[in-house]
Amino acid sequence: MSRARWIATGVLIAVFVLALFASAFAPAPYAKQFRNDTDHPPSTQFPLGTDELGRDRLSRLLYGMRISLLLAPAAALISTALAAIIGGAGAYLGGTWDRATNMFIDLFLSLPWLFLLLTLRALLPLDIPPFTSVVVTFALLGILGWAASARIVAASVRSIRSSEFLLQARAAGCKPSRLLFRHVLPNVKPILLAQFWISVPLFILTEANLGMLGLGVTEPLPSWGNLLRELENYTALRHSPWLWVPLLSLVLVVSLFQFALGTEEPA
């Protein structure tokens, strides 16, 4: 791993720790309203100022980061597990199962993800409690985000299935369960791990997009998505540059993920 990747990983861990212990670092609770200090510019008491309800922006950013950084990996775990089950099982069973799974994956990939998210989110009530909205948003991301990973997992399982060592193991009388758990899964593990880490920044960005559309985490709980909604007041942006801080922090974290993972498009 290059030095730049080590540095990116280190900074990312520091950001995770900061977000995880948000209650220790935040100057105030995220929902506390300082009624006499609404729309306050940055000061020693409020380093990033306050919003229109008088809530400390820095505290909301730290708590929002905690929600996004803890739940995006949870959603990634769901999507990777689904990718492993659907893509892996289809390719392992082979034949008609493989073709049917491939077709299902292709069908799923043909639907633009955001359209699908909007449709399913619309089926659920919009006025749900804030905590439920967090769970629903990230659960939907996890449930709907498996298809691209499943295609890669299926391709990998297919190549392992036709490998010589598996043929030898089968010829030696290895049971299917032993083949799966001792030979296939350990070889797919690195791919699953890579897919998991690639999904995390993707889910953080998608939550931000959903939040900006008003379909993500609901108030008063903060998340990157609903913090970015303040940017919609673009007349205020000219004289309040600190409103860009949530966006800058989001770009920083997602860039750090890219650096740490060394993600490159295959060719």
């Binding site: 449709t119 379909l215 989001l250 490159e264």
Partner: protein, 289 residues
């Protein structure tokens, strides 16, 4: 003959997408809260017997399969249903809003490809580390910004928000084509052509372009899908009356029939775009993308 069978296979895939998508859509509409509740239930002038008779008339709709049959029948006749939130037939809404989205998607895809290739070709051609690193950094930054925020930035600087779609498409095109070009430039036949003193333009036109054409065409289909997805937040932020904004309005007002039809139409369009680009490129590139 092979081309005809490939076209037939892709048409079949589009048909299956429409049928499965329709079934899923009909099931979602059927399961959505509030299904089966009629305005007549609130009409105090109607007797209990009349209400019972009206419910009996609609009883067939409660079965998902018969509902799907009805839905499919209407769909074949071009009837996409009625939007409750917009108080207009869905087909009429599509007719009004489709041109705007198509324009955004075309601008986005064309702009993204122009920008991506404009940066990728010199990056692989010149092999200047600083240029390559800068171009990678620029594309990386755009990968980290939500499309809604990109549209907002365009509005703040007084530019058309639709151009934001191009910046969503550009990093994907840049990274894929740059890697592909770098790989192709190191192929033995290209090295031989260089050693023989062929001009850079001739090498690019005769030895690089034919090699990268097929995977690039496959990418074209994917970028249409990316542009369609980006159109939702961009149209919402820019208040542009397209299908993306319609989807968002339908989601907020829980207009499930409208959303389902919208998703179905978009799915068919993206499957058709992917099929078209796949027909023009070898199947070997499918897993790469």
């Amino acid at each position: 003959m092979r081309i005809l069978s490939a076209i037939g296979r892709h048409l079949l895939i589009i048909l299956i997408t429409a049928l499965v998508g329709g079934l899923l859509g009909a099931t979602l509409v059927r399961l959505a809260p509030g299904f089966g509740i009629q305005e007549s239930d609130l009409n105090a002038q109607l007797s209990a017997e009349t209400r019972k008779a009206l419910h009996k008339e609609d009883a067939g709709e409660r079965n998902v399969l018969s509902y799907y049959g009805h839905y499919l029948g209407s769909l074949i006749h071009g009837d996409l249903g009625y939007s409750r939130s917009m108080d207009r037939p869905v087909s009429e809404l599509f007719r009004d809003r489709l041109p705007d989205t198509v324009e955004s998607v075309v601008i986005g895809v064309a702009g993204g490809w122009l920008l991506g290739l404009a940066l990728a070709i010199p990056a692989s051609w010149k092999r200047a580390p600083f240029y390559s690193a800068s171009a990678t950094l620029i594309s990386g930054i755009f990968l980290c910004i939500p499309s809604a925020v990109l549209a907002l930035i365009f509005l703040v600087i007084g530019s058309p928000g639709k151009l934001a779609i191009a910046l969503v498409v550009f990093p994907k095109v840049f990274r894929f084509s740059r890697n592909l070009l770098v790989k192709t430039y190191t192929m033995p036949h290209v090295l031989t052509a260089r050693a023989r003193g062929l001009s850079s333009a001739r090498i690019f036109g005769w030895h690089i372009l034919p090699n990268i054409a097929a995977p690039m065409l496959a990418l074209a289909g994917v970028t249409v899908s990316i542009a369609f997805a980006a159109a939702i937040p961009v149209e919402v932020v820019c208040d542009s009356p397209g299908l993306g904004q319609l989807a968002w309005k339908a989601a907020l007002s829980r207009d499930v029939p409208l959303l389902v039809n919208l998703t179905l139409v978009i799915a068919i369009v993206t499957v058709a775009a992917n099929s078209f680009s796949e027909l023009l490129s070898p199947a070997a590139t499918r897993d790469v993308l």
